[in-house]
């Protein structure tokens, strides 16, 4: 063992730096013990306890270096190396770090509340798993933000609590299970790139709202805002809390000249409540409901256009040369990503066929249903399940016509036709008698480019329609010669 003690006059370092330097020195393999500290009374005592002899004249303003090295070899370099290392450590301690700024990027917020506190947001878009949404939504409301809950599987009691809290604060909760909203031109969730315009939409249905805004856009008219309310809002328990708030907000919005309410089938007593509220507004309200005797989405869009005094166009369609020949007697199978588009197709089919619907094996499946999305992404993001179903139906001799929807817009698959067109082409090649009809919900401005998607699907052999109702009626004419395309009523 060999000790080295030196006093460096006027070499001040803060005690924390010196503690760290001492530790780093002590960790060197050839060092048995080390202490580097200012010569305060307390530190002199520490040196003494470690067995170092500190010169009497070392005071509180002097840096004392004490190093103990193991028995050195003949070259005696251990101590020199330790002293060299010490100099490096002390220099390093006072050298600024090589990083750019002292602050760097702040880490992302970890809760909705903390993120809300960072800026001046107007709405929180929540898509964490449903059972975990509640605290995040409460955070947002407490911070004065409106909330859109994309997630499903949120307990209904929590939905009511949140909507009551929002009402107390003069805010709105869109959702849970709200897939689509447009506020101030920003599309939230699954939304299409549509032009601004005079139509406000209240939607208890995501794809219903998308179909409506795309048809209006195709007619050269835009939307002011689309406020989703969630699939359960018009249930007896929730009682239209958000729908009523949305109607009132749009009624007060100077940019909104007309309101369209789109919904999955609502509870009758809630629908009465909403109709009553709508009657009291200054702004006219058009209803689009998948109920017998009610307007389908296409008709509601036409009604809205007429109310605004705007022309109703021929809805875009891309059909194969000469149109497909009918395949009577076989079944129509609808494979949908949009729940409301499915409901509308089934309603139109039931309207035309009545009880014959099930008897003839016609089926309409919603792949966005909880049963299919548990543990996997929505079919508008992940097409795997639907493509499998397409292959299975194509292999079923009983199936004559496949009806599929393709929903474009922000948040959806970047290029649905890339996978779907080859699958359609393959199905038609393997089953010459098969017919494929596509309901294409999108706009020319969507990131996926509606027209390019339409052409790709059409070239693969599908008949493509911008109107879901028209696509459905077209599919029906293919399986039943007695049905004429166009509006039956």
């Amino acid at each position: 063992m060999r000790d080295w003690v030196e006093v460096r006059r006027g070499g001040y370092h803060d005690s924390v730096t010196l503690m760290r330097v001492s530790r780093q020195l002590s960790e060197r393999p050839d060092v048995a013990g080390a202490m580097v500290a200012m010569g305060t009374e307390l530190n002199r005592e520490m040196f003494g306890r470690m067995g170092f002899a500190v010169p009497d004249d070392a005071g509180p303003d002097d840096l004392v270096v004490a190093i103990r090295v193991e028995d050195e070899g003949p070259d005696g370099t251990g101590l020199d190396e330790a002293r060299g290392a010490l100099d490096g450590l002390l220099r390093g301690a006072s050298r600024p770090s090589a990083r750019a700024g002292v602050l760097g990027e702040p880490a992302p917020a970890r809760t909705t509340g903390a993120a809300a506190a960072r800026g001046d947001a107007t709405v929180a878009l929540l898509s964490v798993p449903g059972p975990y949404v509640f605290p995040e939504a409460m955070d947002a409301l407490d911070a004065g933000l409106n909330v859109m809950i994309f997630s499903d599987n949120v307990p209904v009691a929590q939905e009511i609590t949140l909507k009551e809290a929002a009402a107390r604060r003069g805010l709105i909760v869109m959702g849970p299970d709200c897939g689509t909203a447009v506020v101030g031109g920003a599309g939230l969730g699954f939304a299409n790139a549509v032009r601004p315009g005079p139509v406000g939409v209240v939607a208890a249905s995501g794809t219903g709202a998308q179909q409506l805004m795309c048809l209006l856009d195709a007619a050269g008219t835009g939307v002011s805002h689309v406020l989703g309310v969630g699939g359960r809002d018009l249930s007896p328990e929730v009682s239209g809390r958000s729908a009523l708030a949305a109607l009132a907000a749009l009624d007060a919005d100077p940019a909104t000249e007309l309101i369209v309410l789109v919904s999955k089938p609502p509870a009758p007593q809630v629908l009465d409540l909403i109709r009553e509220a709508a009657r009291r507004l200054d702004t006219p309200v058009v209803f689009a409901l998948p109920l017998p005797g009610e307007d389908d989405l296409t008709r509601a869009a036409e009604k809205a256009l007429r109310a605004l005094g705007r022309p109703v166009p021929a809805w875009p369609r891309w059909t194969s040369r000469g149109g497909a020949a009918p395949v009577p007697g076989r079944a129509l199978r609808g494979l949908f990503a949009g729940g409301t588009l499915r409901d509308e197709a089934e309603m139109i089919a039931r309207d035309a066929l009545g009880r014959e619907l099930e008897a003839r094996g016609h089926r309409f499946t919603d792949f966005g249903d909880d049963a299919y999305t548990r543990g996997r992404a929505h079919p508008m993001i992940d097409p795997t399940l639907r493509l499998e179903a397409l292959r299975a139906e194509a292999a079923d001799d009983g199936c004559g016509v496949l009806l599929l929807d393709v929903v474009l817009g922000y948040g959806a698959e970047p290029d649905p036709a890339a996978a779907l067109a080859p699958a359609v082409a393959a199905a038609l090649r393997d089953r010459p008698g098969l017919r494929v009809v596509v309901s294409l919900c999108g706009t020319a401005a969507d990131p996926q480019d509606r027209d390019r998607q339409a052409v790709a699907l059409c070239e693969a052999g599908a008949d493509v329609f911008a109107s879901n109702a028209q696509a459905t009626r077209h599919a029906l004419t293919l399986v039943d010669g007695s049905i004429v395309e166009g509006t039956p009523r």
Binding site: M19, A109, T111, S127, F150
Partner: protein, 482 residues
């Protein structure tokens, strides 16, 4: 920054749905990444949240607590009381007078504790206190007395007091008396002994007892005269200045000590009751102790935290304290109940030849500074001591930034120059801690595990996570039983 270009100037319309339909859209996005990037694609400002699920078993409790009517308002009210407190140093008096401490009664840091579970430094400090009060002749004698239960000891926190490290208060010790001019509360803390071999780190040698005796005989009375002559000292104003001079008020008190001395020295010099020699001794002692202000800062923090107590439904943490064995917290909405877990060993830097093996688990009421938005929460204000947090100024900034994630407010008075004078993160929300898994960062001294050793280092420590989940469950129970 959104501009409020409402085409229709009717103010009632502009504020409908918080301006959702009239303002430029700006979104906080929590969850699926694709939805946040879809907004970015539309050039909509998005603040994306780095969300993770809360720990198993806390989901229902979180919903119950956050969903209780008035929860947010309760938190807002509680933290508002915390940040509007105006603690002033008004007096210095013996503990037996201000706290009514009987002979043979001692206070200690942290949640309740008995001798059998007491750690080395706590035992050492109690032994020293017995010697100081003349209740034992020798350390061995004191230990025997304590073992047979001859002394009564209670948490400082049960007496509106706080104590650094072991926090042992004996009847003869002099206490700083701090009054909150806003809400009317009073809090107490003993006088700081300096560093090294001191009672609060569990040392009880003759020099420790002598120093304490001198503090009772000379320092206490001298300070009393100075404070009374000066009049109430606005501690919050002093702390705010010290923060801008590089203190965080827990592990660094150099600026605050200087400011307090500057404040009191003229009054002390003018006090005829204090002989000149004693005034000089007192000044020299205080000037030689960079932590002289710590105890005043702790009493101030205690006054702020106590002002926020007892708000029903609030999940605001109003005390974080350690007794060397347990780490305990109290929450505004759950009264005087302690939620405790095992105290951790600090991660830090060591004096001389000491190392982690010599370290006692975390000890002291000084985490009251973090409770009130100072200490570890204000690390970004104290670049001189950033080496405690891993070495570089950005790490200290990151530590403070992280605390904004679990706090309810930004302090209106305590500001951090390095963060463009943003207020310090203040008011730990137990629910936020559970949700984020981010634990409060606490600066601390490290006591030697053997009784009598004294200080062996300093560093950072985290509370055990369970104290926050336990508090959350207790709040949830209360929410379920109106």
């Amino acid at each position: 920054m959104s501009d409020h270009r409402d085409p229709n100037r009717d103010p009632n319309r502009a504020h409908r749905l918080g301006g959702l339909l009239s303002r430029e859209p700006s979104v906080v996005a929590t969850g699926v990444e694709v939805l946040a990037s879809a907004l970015a694609d539309q050039a909509v400002p998005v603040e994306a949240v780095d969300w993770r699920p809360p720990p198993a078993g806390t989901r229902d409790a979180l919903a119950a607590v956050l969903g209780a009517p008035g929860h947010a308002e309760a938190n807002a009210r509680a933290v508002q009381r915390m940040v509007t407190a105006r603690p002033h140093l008004v007096d210095v008096r013996p503990a037996r007078e201000v706290l009514g401490l009987e002979p043979g009664t001692f206070l200690h840091a942290g949640p309740p504790l008995d001798w059998d579970r007491a750690s080395g430094p706590m035992r050492g400090a109690l032994i020293g206190a017995m010697l100081l009060e003349g209740l034992a002749e020798t350390p061995r004698g004191a230990e025997r007395e304590l073992e047979r239960g001859a002394a009564v000891f209670e948490p400082c926190h049960h007496h509106a007091a706080v104590g650094p490290m072991a926090g042992v208060v004996a009847p003869s010790m002099w206490m700083l008396v701090v009054e909150d001019a806003e809400h009317g509360g009073t809090s107490y803390c003993s006088l700081n002994e300096g560093l090294g071999k001191v009672l609060r780190y569990g040392a009880y040698g003759p020099e420790v007892i002598e120093r304490l005796a001198w503090m009772g005989e000379v320092l206490g009375p001298a300070l009393r005269e100075a404070v009374r002559r000066h009049g109430p000292v606005d501690l919050m104003a002093l702390i705010a200045q010290a923060l801008q001079m590089g203190d965080e008020l827990h592990n660094r008190n150099r600026a605050a000590t200087s400011l307090l001395l500057r404040e009191l020295a003229p009054a002390l010099a003018a006090a005829e009751e204090v002989p000149r020699a004693r005034a000089a001794e007192a000044l020299k002692f205080a000037a030689g102790n960079d932590h002289f202000f710590l105890n005043a800062g702790m009493a101030a923090a205690k006054a702020c935290a106590d002002a926020a107590r007892g708000v029903p439904g609030s999940s605001l943490v109003v005390a974080m304290a350690r007794n060397g064995t347990d780490f305990g917290i109290q929450v505004s909405g759950t009264g005087d109940r302690w939620f405790t877990g095992p105290a951790g060993v600090p991660d830090g830097l060591y004096l001389g030849g000491y190392g982690p093996d010599d370290a006692n688990p975390d000890i002291g009421d000084s985490a009251i500074t973090e409770t009130a938005g100072m200490g570890g929460f204000a690390l970004a204000a104290a670049p001189a001591i950033v080496r405690f947090v891993g070495g570089e100024v950005p790490d200290a900034v990151a530590a403070t930034q992280r605390m904004y994630e679990i706090t309810l407010a930004e302090h209106p008075v305590l500001q951090i120059p390095l963060l463009s004078f943003r207020g310090t993160p203040v008011g730990v929300d137990a629910a936020r801690v559970v949700r984020t898994g981010i634990l409060p960062v606490i600066d601390t001294g490290i006591a030697g595990r053997e009784a009598g050793t004294g200080q062996v280092g300093a560093g950072l420590v985290e509370p055990p996570a369970n104290v926050f989940t336990d508090a959350l469950h207790a709040l949830a129970e209360i929410a379920h039983t109106p």
